[in-house]
């Protein structure tokens, strides 16, 4: 029996403006990231998360961009990104037809007395201990954003030194390419 439900984010963590997850396939060339970012910045959309990696074909790179801002203008911005000569395509993904995951590294201070509890939390979220010292720990947890949010809430009982989230990566479900 889990202590925290990981399927839904706690109410207080729901962002006010919805975050949209876009997948953009681009030419793998210098300056392309700048072109994409300019489209969002000019229209007042903030990029909340960004993951860029080389594609299987090294000519291309895959960007997963989390943006917040007015949902009404988003379709038009996707078209503006698609218009860029260096953009092969840009889609918005929702959780029904895609797998969306991110990875968290969290470093926190933990004395011997608390270590067992810390390990239980890490275990509950299917995470791993990737660094351990007599006074601190780094845990690695991956999963959906709401699960990461929930794990962070649980870790807040410790003194957190720092956290790093990769931002979302997305892949279309079934046999269709992203």
């Amino acid at each position: 029996m889990s202590l925290v439900t990981t399927d839904l984010p706690p109410e207080n963590l729901t962002p006010e403006t919805p975050i949209h997850t876009l997948s953009v396939l681009v030419n793998n060339k210098p300056g392309v990231l700048m072109r994409i970012c300019q489209v969002f910045a000019r229209r007042g959309y903030n990029i909340d998360s960004l993951v860029v990696s080389e594609g299987r074909n090294k000519e291309f790179a895959r960007m997963t961009i989390g943006v917040s801002g007015d949902p009404d203008g988003l379709d038009q911005i996707i078209l503006q990104v698609n218009k860029l000569v260096d953009a092969i395509h840009c889609f918005e993904h929702n959780s029904d037809e895609s797998v969306v995951k991110e990875l968290l590294l969290i470093k926190f201070l933990v004395q011997k007395t608390e270590r067992t509890e810390a390990l239980q939390i890490i275990d509950h979220y299917g995470g791993k201990t990737v660094d351990l010292t007599p006074t601190s720990m780094i845990a690695m947890i991956n999963g959906g954003s709401s699960k990461i949010d929930a794990a962070l809430a649980m870790f807040s009982q410790f003194e957190i030194v720092e956290t790093v989230r990769t931002g979302k990566v997305v892949m279309a479900r079934s046999d269709t390419p992203t």
């Binding site: 030419n27 078209l79 698609n82 000569v85």
Partner: protein, 575 residues
């Protein structure tokens, strides 16, 4: 010349020549010397024109492109040379004008180290181009130049910049002169197959229309849809309004034309927009200057939007039918299935508006810009090429100089760039040496690029350089009068030179017009000069306002056809 002996710059110039480039407008500098050298060492059909400022180069290339539909090339050096092109490139981008800009650049190993005349031209220009390149391999030059030409001229045209480090242009070339283009993310050819569903939906609306209106934009002209547009309008018996940049794609002297719409459009065009039941927008991007208050625009009409650029759909106006396609291709499909509409009552209504709200001006109480423009139109007709600057004279020229064919009206619309008109006229005259080219500027804008008097005089181009001088930045003064309680600030151009003496200093003859009665006589004398430029200086009354006017952000219904009798609130819409 064998491939082995060529350097990158020579490969570049050879490629541009093979692409059919006729003119390079440029200004030299250290980082561009290898490219300038190749202009001498490679035998081509390209003519090089040395302007007097890099902004002038861009506007000349722009004028050339807007008079022909073909791109010209701009060639400048790094740092300040590239920096001075910004306004010109942005002007071309806003108005979808094809242009290829070549910038010299510091050697590659100095990039990002603040070397002499080094600037991040690639980064600086990224938001104002259709696409840009920083070439890092000499052997890429022909492919990049071909891609740039293809991107600049296809789909929705625009400027493409190529930044060329000096070691790349003077390095030995050993590549392929005719390589494949590598543009996996760019497929303009899709626009030439039209979605049948959109055509069906459009036709359903058109067949039910009683008060249809065609809105013709620059896109219709770029796609060469003049004949298809005319067939559509005449078959449907549908009136046609055009945007500022669409002037000429449908003859303005045609009985179905209602002229330009928008902020300073004709009253009858704006009334037609308000009263129509179906609006067929062909290649206009619903600019804020034509829609006024967006949620009031055409609120009782069904709207059809034909545009080659998918990202223009629903950007400003939510439309009912969207056809993402080349305008000519789409109109051909539509025209296959149209027949006459019962529009007699609608046309009669428009005719009453034309009679009630004609464009007019007074010939008493001093010389007005409108009269000079109107009489030039009487003399030179609707087939002369007219370039304008930006401001009051531009709007009066749009109203009173009727344009009867595409590629004859050249004006900076989206960017509203002062200083554009005169160098653009030079480019247009290079493109069309046998046509009458009239450059209409105010005293403000003309002084921004008048250094090109050297260029026009040197090449003996018979441009009619018209300076309508009211000693004011008149459009801003008009806003200050109407919306800022008449508080004039930063608009009085005291200290203007004697423009006729200035022309004389360049060896250019000039004619001065002071009185309304002198206009015709002086213009006829000036227009008789065919062997070189002539400057026509008109001393116009200081304070005159352009009407009709829709205050920015107001609805088209709230158009002012005459000076308001009450104090106006400050406009809340766009600038």
């Amino acid at each position: 010349m064998s491939t082995q002996e060529m350097d990158g710059a020579q490969a570049l110039i050879k490629t541009l020549d093979s692409l059919g480039v006729e003119y390079i407008f440029g200004y030299s500098g250290g980082a561009a010397i290898p490219i300038f050298d190749a202009l001498v060492t490679v035998k081509t059909n390209i003519e090089f024109v040395l302007a007097r400022h890099e902004q002038g180069c861009c506007h000349m290339a722009d004028g050339y492109a807007r008079a022909t539909g073909k791109p010209a090339v701009v060639l400048v050096t790094s740092g300040p040379g590239a920096g001075n092109t910004i306004t010109g490139i942005m002007t071309a981008q806003m108005d979808s004008v094809p242009m290829i800009i070549l910038c010299g650049q510091q050697v590659t190993w100095m990039l990002g180290k603040d070397a002499f005349q080094e600037a991040d031209t690639f980064g600086i220009t990224m938001p104002i181009v259709k696409h840009n390149y920083l070439v890092k391999d000499t052997n890429d030059i022909p492919r990049v130049a071909r891609e740039a030409h293809h991107i600049a001229t296809s789909g929705r045209p625009g400027p493409v910049l190529i930044d060329l480090p000096k070691d790349i242009t003077q390095g030995p070339f050993s590549g392929d002169m005719d390589p494949e283009l590598d543009l996996p993310g760019y497929q303009p050819e899709k626009s030439y197959s039209v979605d049948a569903h959109g055509i069906d939906e459009a036709l359903q609306l058109i067949h039910k229309a009683q008060r249809p209106l065609i809105l013709a934009g620059h896109g219709a002209m770029i796609s060469g849809a003049d004949a298809e547009l005319k067939e559509l309008a005449e078959t449907l018996q549908c009136p046609v309004t055009s945007t500022l940049l669409g002037k000429g794609v449908f003859p303005e002297e045609h009985p179905l034309s209602v002229g330009m719409l928008g902020m300073h459009g004709t009253a009858y065009a704006n009334k037609a927009v308000c009263a129509c039941d179906v609006l067929i927008n062909i290649g206009s991007r619903f600019d804020d200057r034509i829609i006024g208050q967006a949620d009031q625009f055409c609120k009782n009409a069904k709207t059809i939007h034909i545009d080659i650029d998918a990202s223009e759909m629903d950007k400003m106006i939510q439309t009912d039918v969207k056809i993402i396609a080349d305008a000519k291709t789409a109109l051909k499909e539509i025209n296959k299935r149209i027949s006459g509409l019962p529009t007699e009552p609608w046309l009669a209504k428009i005719e009453t508006w034309k009679k009630k709200y004609p464009l007019s001006y007074r010939k008493q109480g001093g010389l007005r810009m409108q009269q000079v423009i109107d009489e030039m139109y009487q003399i030179a007709g609707g087939d002369a090429i007219v370039t304008t600057d930006v401001g009051q004279h531009q709007m009066w020229a749009a109203q009173f100089y009727k344009t009867n064919a595409s590629w004859k009206w050249i004006s900076s619309g989206g960017a509203g760039t002062m200083g554009f008109g005169f160098p653009a006229a030079i480019g247009a005259q290079f493109a069309c040496p046998d046509q009458t080219v009239i450059s209409i500027s105010g005293d403000g804008g003309f002084q921004m690029t008048l250094f090109e008097l050297s260029t026009v005089a040197l090449h003996k181009l018979p441009v009619k350089i018209v300076v309508l001088n009211n000693h004011y930045l008149g459009m801003v003064r008009q806003w200050q009068e109407l919306f800022f309680d008449g508080r004039e600030s930063g608009v009085d151009l005291e200290g203007n030179p004697d423009f006729c003496k200035l022309a004389a200093a360049y060896g250019i003859p000039s004619f001065n017009i002071k009185r309304p009665a002198d206009v015709r006589k002086q213009l006829e004398k000036a227009f008789a000069i065919k062997d070189g430029p002539v400057l026509i200086h008109a001393e116009c009354i200081k304070s005159d306002n352009v009407f009709p006017m829709i205050p920015a952000g107001a609805a088209l219904e709230d158009m002012l056809t005459e000076p308001p009798k009450h104090k106006m609130a400050k406009p809340t819409g766009s600038t």
